[in-house]
Amino acid sequence: MTDATTNGRPFLEVEDLSVRFPTADGVVAAVQGLSYSVELGKTLGIVGESGSGKSVSSMAIMGLHDTKRTKIDGLIRVEDTDIVGLEDEKMRRVRGNLVSMIFQDPLSSLHPFFSIGDQISEAYLSHHPRASKSTAKKRAIEMLDRVGIPQANRRVDDYPHQFSGGMRQRAMIAMALVNDPKLLIADEPTTALDVTVQAQILDLLQDLQREFGSAIIIITHDLGVVAEMADEVLVMYAGRCVEYGAAKEILTHPEHPYTWGLLTSAPHLTGDPDLRLTPIRGNPPSLIDLPKGCSFEPRCPYANRLPDNRAAEVLPELRPGGRGRGHLVRCHLPNPEEIFVNEVQPRL
């Protein structure tokens, strides 16, 4: 494995990132005070329900937000470059080159009118302006072959609609990896796919990481995927990080009620099927007028255990978890471990 850090620092550092969208209805605070870092060769899993700001935060790393309609504050450092406010042309050279991204729905993310090969070569050419078209095409075939598309040299001229779902996602990955990026952001890469195909894709990602030693951010709402893929996990809720730490730690000893909720609400393959699921009650909050206290408070079954109205009034700080080891949690509860072991674990 390659050296995990550059100049002793993680490859990607995000500090106090906030992304806001001024809209007609008010300012949407999609991401607030988000900090994390990823090292080369490691995988960060970001989980959270729909609208929690997973995509928005990772698109900020890619500089994909419309600068006129978005307010981005904080610091994003990729290798040695500060991305926030970077001018267009420089950012363009980072995108798809140093950092690349694959998206959830491979069909709609591929241009229906261009052949797969064209789209991959285009990505190559945009960062290798001196390369010839045929080189680019060779490179495309090579990449398709690498991601396991059979008969890549023939399929390279096919159009996206001629590929099956799994193959499309492989093509997306090929496209993202064509310039050997050091960081790959996979935004729900398997949500639209069947389980068997999902397994294939996850395998592929792991193989590739092993081979190239790049960093991966995998965004998902499936804790199972995180469990299989990630070294570290970031749990997001309403635009904020609510829990962050090593995957093993967080998945086995979570300390935030929201993480508990995620664990208990999904049915499992083993265990008592007649055991009632424990959903997280209510609906996610609107990001326009977030409660000034803990954003999870309205849905938190344990909020009433706190004295006074603290949960609703005071925004909890991200503090180290009970067992240490870099585990951070944003919760007022004084004894989360205890609650988890006694009340939550039995329901799993």
């Binding site: 729909s50 469990a227 299989e228 998945l251 499992h268």
Partner: protein, 373 residues
């Protein structure tokens, strides 16, 4: 809510004898594929559903799992007579639903309802919630017109929605709330059977559990039977005592969930189960030895001869290409359609991985019998 419970029983559909609630025999649905020539001849058939049989007792639920395109939705639509079957019978309380004329369908529509996957496209965006939930009441004349409002509000309450949202449009609701609206609509006629076509697939995990619990409660409360279509095996396992696994228009394995999940005998079921990522202390951080399938699902227009799964099966032998394995009942009490049905072993995972590598290095296919377990 008590009103819902005591709503007058559906008129018209009387059970004949002691027939099961639903009995499906050899159900087939082929969609014609036309040539692009002048005459637009039929050149092929999409064998979306190709001989599916099962039965369902009142008050029970059957889960239907399988990968995309295997014919789950088509089966569901055949059951609700949104499609006419190519052949086969769908007997509801002994009446063949597939043979009733469209005009006489109305009473049956009251008995069999449907919940859809996509909470965004299954609600008419231009109708208010009141209109959406009120439509079945109006069509089936369940309550007098002036009572509709009250009844709709009761239904909204039953599914946990604010009755005052009567005049709102669907787009003002979240996905989970919309799915509740869809459920209220299905519930309005108090059906005996609900075909739920992936009712929670589009929802967030946290919301998914709310809806699952709601469905569960409704089933207990009103004794409704479900055909529960899903691609998530864990969800199906949670909801249905009986589960059928489909592949390319056919049932591969069917039986009580405990047997099926613990002792899957069909290689496909095994592959499905092993592909599911799980959060267990054991799995975190380490990849399990899983069964890896190679290749893609073949086209339903031209399914493989013999066993349909053989093109992706590491166990496949010559016989699989020649003889279609029938659905046979095992000693464990569930039924499997496989020549080499056997409980999973560690070797399976290995063999499947070798097969996958062979496939990847070649042109994506593995010759029959190349890997002998």
């Amino acid at each position: 809510m008590s009103d819902v419970k005591t709503a007058p029983a559906a008129a018209g559909v009387e059970p004949t004898g002691d027939a099961p609630l639903l009995e499906v025999t050899d159900l087939v649905k082929h969609f014609p594929v036309r040539s692009s020539g002048v005459l637009r001849r039929v050149v092929g058939q999409v064998r979306a559903v190709d001989g599916v049989s099962f039965s369902l007792q009142a008050g029970k639920s059957l889960g239907l799992v399988g990968e995309s395109g295997c014919g789950k939705s088509t089966t569901g639509r055949l059951l609700t007579r949104l499609l006419d079957p190519t052949s086969g019978a769908v007997k509801f309380l002994g009446h063949d639903v597939a043979k009733i004329s469209q005009k006489k369908m109305l009473p049956f529509r009251r008995e069999i309802q449907m919940i859809f996957q996509d909470p965004y496209s299954s609600l008419n965006p231009r109708h208010t919630v009141g209109a959406i939930v009120g439509t079945p009441l109006r069509v089936h004349n369940i309550v007098p017109r002036n009572k509709t409002l009250a009844r709709v509000q009761e239904l909204l309450e039953v599914v946990g929605l604010n009755p005052e949202h009567y005049n709102r449009y669907p787009n003002e609701f979240s996905g989970g709330q919309r799915q509740r609206i869809g459920i209220a609509r299905a519930l309005a006629v108090r059906p005996k059977l609900i075909v739920a076509d992936e009712p929670v697939s589009a929802l967030d995990v946290s919301i998914q559990a709310q809806v699952m619990n709601l469905l569960e409660d409704l089933q207990k409360e009103f004794g409704i039977s479900f055909i529960f279509v899903a691609h998530d095996l864990a969800v199906v396992r949670h909801f249905c005592p009986d589960v059928a696994v489909m592949y390319l228009g056919k049932i591969m394995e069917v039986g009580p969930r405990d047997r099926l999940y613990e002792q899957p005998h069909h290689p496909y079921t095994q592959a499905l189960l092993s592909a599911i990522p799980e959060v267990t202390a054991a799995t975190v951080g380490t990849r399990r030895e899983r069964i890896r399938l190679f290749g893609d699902v073949p086209s339903p227009i031209d399914p493989p001869s013999g066993c349909r799964f053989r093109t992706r099966c590491w166990k496949a032998q010559d016989i699989c290409a020649e003889v279609e394995p029938p659905l046979t009942t095992l000693v464990t009490g569930h039924q499997v359609a496989c020549h080499f049905a056997a409980p999973p072993t560690v070797e399976d995972a290995k063999a499947s991985q070798i097969a996958a590598e062979v496939a990847a290095s070649g042109d994506g296919e593995v010759p029959l019998g190349a890997i002998t377990p």
